[in-house]
């Protein structure tokens, strides 16, 4: 099967709507297809990967832990908009420490999250074959 570049565009916060959860479900399935997968978190989508989510008070499942599994599925291109973080008073230190093991570098543990400018997101976007929005 041919390899295409898939981008998942995440712009919505978790819990208020189901989009974040069901987007993550697609990404986890997509891993089995061995495509080139990038995730972009922009606008309120950056809240999907904020550390320290606790859903005890709302009776919903805390699915944020599942993002930690992405590295094990070779999904390690998570691009976060620097501008969206700044606008929301967030920095990379507020995000979950998501990592993957680089098989080309003696399985060294490396961060999956890359904080990038909107200009860089524009460039990444223009390289994609398929963009799935949720």
């Amino acid at each position: 099967m041919s390899t295409k570049k898939f981008m998942y565009l995440n712009r919505k916060a978790p819990y208020g709507t189901v989009y974040a959860l069901e987007s993550l479900e697609v990404v986890l399935i997509a891993a089995a297809f061995e495509q080139d997968v990038s995730l972009v978190f922009i606008d309120d989508g950056v809240y999907q990967i904020v550390d320290g989510q606790n859903t005890d008070g709302i009776g919903m499942k805390n699915f944020s832990k599942a993002y930690h599994a992405l590295g094990d599925y070779d999904i390690n291109q998570l691009y976060v908009s620097a501008e969206s973080l700044t606008e929301r008073g967030l920095s990379v230190d507020d995000l979950m420490p998501l990592v993957y093991e680089d098989e080309d570098d003696d399985w060294a543990e490396k961060p999956s999250i890359k904080v990038v400018s909107n200009v860089e997101i524009s460039k990444i976007m223009s390289e994609q074959d398929v963009c799935l929005s949720f």
Binding site: L9, R11, I42, D43, E83, N118, V119, I121, S122, K123, M125, S126, Q128, D129, V130, C131, S133, F134
Partner: protein
């Protein structure tokens, strides 16, 4: 690339987010409530420059349905659904700012 916007700029930041990341060659198609971005209003300046470059399209049916056909800002090109299909075919990957 083709970027589709389906929300009014008065309601959501979809258009602004798209403009923040759009490259120099991509085009924008306004559909559904996104056509409110095509009308002359307080937010018109957001799209004016791209429209001058001929890179902004709006879906005629959605404009007409909302009664704003006489308000469409300068240089915005109107297309029907067949024109929508042509834009998808001609511009490669489509990004939907839903």
């Amino acid at each position: 690339m083709l970027h589709t916007i389906n929300k009014s700029s008065f309601e959501r930041n979809s258009l602004q987010s798209c403009l923040n990341t759009i490259d120099d060659t991509s085009v924008i198609l306004l559909i559904e409530d996104g056509v409110i971005c095509a009308a002359n209003n307080a937010n018109s300046s957001m799209l004016a420059e791209l429209a001058t470059q001929g890179r902004v399209f709006a879906l005629q049916g959605d404009i007409d349905a909302r009664g704003i056909s006489s308000k469409v800002a300068d240089n915005i090109k109107l297309v029907d659904y067949a024109g929508f299909v042509d834009l998808v075919v001609e511009h490669g990957t489509t990004v939907s700012w839903v």
